[in-house]
Every structure is written in structure tokens, then in C-alpha cells.
Symmetry: C2
Subunit: 229 residues, 2 copies
Amino acid sequence: MSAAGEVKSVVSDPRLVEERRRQIILAAVELFSKEGYHTTTIQQIARRAGTSTGLIYQYFGDKEDVLFLTLKLVIDSYENEIPFRLDGVVHPVERLCTALSAYCGVVDRLRDATVLAYRSTMSLRAERRALIKEGETRTNRLIEACVRDCTTGGFMRPVAEHLLAYQYVMFAHSWALKHWSYRERYALDEYVEEGIQLLVDPFLTAKGRLALASKRARDEVPGADLPVD
Amino acid sequence: MSAAGEVKSVVSDPRLVEERRRQIILAAVELFSKEGYHTTTIQQIARRAGTSTGLIYQYFGDKEDVLFLTLKLVIDSYENEIPFRLDGVVHPVERLCTALSAYCGVVDRLRDATVLAYRSTMSLRAERRALIKEGETRTNRLIEACVRDCTTGGFMRPVAEHLLAYQYVMFAHSWALKHWSYRERYALDEYVEEGIQLLVDPFLTAKGRLALASKRARDEVPGADLPVD
DNA sequence: ATCTGTAATGAACGATCGTTCAGCCATTAT
DNA sequence: ATAATGGCTGAACGATCGTTCATTACAGAT
């Protein structure tokens, strides 16, 4: 695992490595997203990053390494940001809605890179492709756990949890994949709201729907149902 | 429009053109899907198709032409097969379920090519990319019309039709995109059935649910509710 | 001031691959 | 029998681009 996940660097100073790689990856995301992985050249990346071509080979073993760290940035963002937003949220229905909202939020922030992941993961060698897929699977399981907590808690009627979880994932990804179509119809938060209407609400029990309503009330006028003094 | 959609051929006999292109495209789908567009070479396509490299340039202007006709085959299949399966089906709820089933069916038949479409459409020049996108949009509108017929007929409660239609599209596409995960869990018809449970059933009115139940009864034992003599 | 090691450069190399084209075969017309 | 036509071949060309490496720049140590 560590062998496939490691990226060789000639430079020893870890701080410098992190900074330079960040600089190069930022340029790479932009170019890979716009032009595609195979059609953007190392020279283009270097120019955009404001460095020389040779420098890239000081911080990456080869071109594929640049792609790998670019995609890893995306799935790491998923894996970090969603749990972060879930932190402190306890009610299962709220957790599910928050997870969906968080997922759509990261996708929105990394829209180009998300599309890039769809298009270019297969340009990685098999071991690394597997690493990326594992990361996605972990996030899927996180969503699935949210669904299960809703059903076992009696907030949601029994459903095909695995499949429903995937619908949430696809719903979030679609915000990037079909953005050319959604852009002119919905803002991000409207999109999330409609998603809850379509993919959460119908499966809630009366008890679950109550919880959702109280969350909505709280979101609308924060602190309105708390005594103000 | 016709300029971007045309593919130049040196050979004049139309029957031969169709046959050869078919032969080459079949090889191309396989290789593009497995190795990616940019990494498969014309020589590989030629070898797999059992011809010479030069022959490909008798029937296609350049490599991009091969990709274009490959992707066009996919979206044309969508546009033909779904209406074909809908032919003769009159009840709105049945039409919607049939459309979803048909869509999943084509995706299953062209699984690799569907994934290829996601990955490689952007390798086409802008005009052609637009043509492909138009084809997808037409299919989307077809699904959306099925949804609208359900709502206006009172078989489905009011919903965000555009968005729900997209969920159906994504559900069908997911069969290809996430096949590595679904394969070991569902057969195709189970997948479609679960899809209806998840994305159709919850939005049906009592009237609509009745129609679905009667369709199911008919599918289970064909002709069972007809007098047999 | 000199030395040493680390970081950065970018011209040049070599391999790959899309594309061409001069010639080959087979079939039909003269 | 010969010519003409149309389809087919695959070696060779040329351009592109990932990668290397000899060289320079610079900072800190001696």
C-alpha cells in the first residue's frame, strides 16, 4: 500500500516539498480539467506554475505522480470535510441531511477536479486506481451508515440502504457532472434542498419527518426556538 | 451542423463504408474502453480489427473521427432503443417504468462504451462535443416528458420534474459507472426493480400505485388476467 | 574567501505515434 | 491480353512531449 501511495522527491526539506507540490498541483488541476490529462504537457504545467520543467521532476517521479496527487487531493477532501461537518450533529436525520449538504459543498468547491476524477482515474496504474477507489468506497460507507442510523432509529422506513446511499453520492457528483445543465436552474443550496425533498423526505417516517421539520425551523431562524435572554 | 457531424471517407461504396466503419469501431470501443482514448494507438485498433493502419484513414479522416463515431453510436442507441421499447405502451406510469428499464438495458448492453462516453467526450472538438451533448439532452427530455405525463395525469404527485428525470438518467448511467460495485449485489432486472421502488413508487398517487401494481401482475404471469380459451 | 550541498534551470535526447504515400492486388471494362 | 479503377498495405516521416542532466545559483559552514 505504501509503495503505491508514495511519490518520490529529490528534494529533502519536507516543508518545501509540500509547498512546491501544492503550487504544481494547483496548476495541474486547472490544466488537466480544461484540457485533459494526456493533452496537457509538463511544460504547460511548469509555465502555469511559474517554474521550470525540470523542477517538476524534483518533486514528482513522473507525470502520473502529478495526476495521482491531484486526484488524491479530491478524495481526501471528501473524506475530511464530510466528517468535519458532521461533527457534533447527533440526530440521525440531521446527520443524513448534513452529510448530503456537505458532500454537495465539497463537490461544488472542487467542481472541476471532481469531473477530472471521473475522467482520468483510469489513467493511473492499477494499484493507485485501487487506492482512489478505496477512498471513494469509504465515503460511500459513511453515507450508508447515516442511512442505516435513520432506519434503525425508526426515522426512516426500511429501504435498500446500499442503493439509496449511492443515490446520494450520485446526486452530489451530478452537481459537478451536469453543472452545465443545473447552473442556470438552481443555486447550490436550492439544489441541496430539492435533493432532500426528492431523496430523503419520501422515506422518512412520521417521526423522521418531524425531526426534519424542526431542523428546517432552526436553520431558517437560528436560535428562534431557544429562549433568548 | 452537418459539417461537424460528417466524417470524410476515401472509399465511395456506401455499403462498404458502413461495414468497415462498424468493424473498426467495434475494435475501437473495446480498446478505448480498456486503455483509454489517448493511450490506444491507431496501430492497435488496426491490429484488433484485423486490418492495416492505412485502411483506417480510408474510412476516417483522423483519430478523432473514430472516437466521434464511437460515441455517436452510444447516444444514437439511447435515442433509438428507448422510444422503440416505449412503442405501444400507453399508460403514463407504465411508460415511465418502461423508459427506465429500457435505459438501463441499453446501458447494460453498451456498458463499456457508456463509461467511455463519460471519460472521453471532452477529447472531441467543441462542435462535436455539442452534438453529443444535444443527443443526451434529447433523451433527458424524453424521460422528463414521461414524468410530466405522470404528474399531469394525476398518477404522480407534483415534483421537480427536471431534477427527478435526471435522477432516472443518473440511475441508468450508474449501472455502468458503478458496475464494479453493483455487479456482486444485483442482476440487471433486480436493479431496475429496486430503482422503481426508490425513484418511482414514492411519488405515485394512490391512482398511480394501482397502475403500477397491475403492470407488475401482468409482468409476473403474462396473460394471466386474460380469458384463456 | 572558499567549500559544500541543495535547489532550480532549460536545452537537448529519444521514444512514441498519428499520418502519409508509393506501390500492390483484384476485379471489371476495353 | 491489357488497361483502368478502386480498395488495401505497411514502412517511413515528422512532430510532439516526457524525461534527463550538465550547468548555474545560492546559502550556510569552515
